[in-house]
């Protein structure tokens, strides 16, 4: 392909007490790619994502953002996190700030941009996720779940990240609100925003993902183009998982 590697994870291990959640995960993502991680609960998907921006410290293994090794203790992780976007399942919008301020605060306080520049970029990001001006001065508690999550995506986008990590972004949403968030994510993927998504939404993967990685019991069991992994899986566990999901979500070819 020739495109540069944006994020690389090498042999990531993580245990909580005696529970081994990640047992040696290795993969990389290139610029412009959208990859999906799917798998049963407890397989370690969320933990893996949090290890990538060191919100959770891996026990063993390394993570690179372009050519900087994040897991190296001498690296200023706060500075590096400015280039990684993270979208949480529970949104985690700052309760005490309006939608606009939520998106702006990273720009003014962390990136130290001048106010006018921050305002411009924030508005741009909000419009990209289809949050219109009438919502900009609302507080998170006044927004619907779908609106909250889109603001959260705008917050990540505005920082101009090299990659956006999505941790089950639609799992906490009512079914009728899932679509609007997936729509935004698809648009970003098509625009070439590099993304790594942990999700159960296989339709999304089939539509826009370059690769699906199936995680099972702490490792990546299988990976490949979505069509292949979902419909012609090589492992029994993979087959069982996608059959069950297919029944639950009624996905069709």
């Amino acid at each position: 392909m020739g495109k540069e590697v944006v994020l690389r994870a090498e042999d990531i291990h993580k245990s909580y007490g005696r529970l081994r959640v990640l047992r040696g995960v290795t993969f990389d993502i290139r610029r412009g790619e959208t990859k999906v991680i799917a798998g049963p609960s407890g397989a370690g998907k969320s933990t893996l994502l949090r290890c990538l921006n060191l919100l959770t410290m891996p026990d063993k293994g390394k993570v690179w953002l372009e050519d900087v090794e994040l897991t190296n203790p001498s690296v200023d992780i706060n500075k590096m996190r400015q280039r990684i976007g993270f979208v949480f399942q529970e949104f985690n919008l700052f309760h005490h700030l309006t939608a606009l301020d939520n998106v702006m605060i990273g720009l003014t306080k962390v990136k130290k941009l001048p106010k006018e520049e921050a305002l411009r970029r924030a508005k741009e990001a909000l419009l990209t996720v289809h949050i219109t001006e009438d919502l900009w001065h609302k507080y998170p508690a006044q927004l619907s779940g779908g609106q909250k999550q889109r603001v959260a995506i705008a917050r990540a986008l505005a920082m101009n990240p090299l990659i956006i990590l999505y941790d089950e972004p639609t799992s906490a949403l009512d079914p009728q609100l899932v679509g609007e968030v997936l729509q935004v994510m698809k648009e970003l993927a098509r625009k070439g925003v590099t993304g790594l998504v942990v999700t159960h939404e296989i339709g999304f993967a089939l539509e826009v993902a370059d690769e699906i990685m199936f995680m099972y019991d702490g490792i990546i069991l299988e990976k490949g183009p979505p069509n292949e992994v979902v419909f012609s899986p090589k492992h029994e566990a993979t087959k069982k998982f996608f059959e069950k999901i297919g029944r639950l979500y009624g996905e069709r070819r």
Partner: protein, 220 residues
Amino acid sequence: MTFWEEFLPALMSGVATTLKMLAIAMPASVALGILLGTLRVYGDRISSTVATAIVVTFRGFPLMVTLLILFFGLADFKIYLTPYWAAVLGFILCSGSYQSEYVRGAIRSIDIGQSLAARAIGMTKLQEVLYIILPQAIRRALPGISNELIYMIKYSSLAFVVGVQEMFAISKSFNYRYFRPIETFMTLAIIYLIMTTVATVGFKWLENKLRIPGLEISGR
């Protein structure tokens, strides 16, 4: 001159003294409360231990004892505070310690997702506490803080014991001279009632003004 013609002006000067003490002690105690509460949650070993020691001491000592130590006790070490400043310092330490408990509780009630999101956009711990955690925690602690400040209005009466000529001290000496206890102390009581009631209404208004929709719900 009648009793009232003498008493009321003297009482008013006492009221002025009380208000002057409160004008300093109230904001200072809030600042101290926020500082101690924050240090106890986020401070390193030394600062959090020191903060805890201060809180335990000044919550545990009756305010009377604190005032007496500051004015008479420190004199043993050749540190001479004026009555006024001994009293103000006592109020700040005592009330600040009680307030720090509310602040500490409020900080701990902020859900961890806020902290994660702050770190995820690259904020340092200091930025996270300053811009994300404290603005929310202080709002949550506001009812408790207002409660303590209203207590301060009442307990300011104890300043008489170190010789400050505030409202109560003046009433006491008037009663000693004229012996009209009901008039003296009832008038005083009414003034305190007015002050605490106005303060209660005022703080409620402040809470409303600072309210963020959705922020009262804990854990959300």
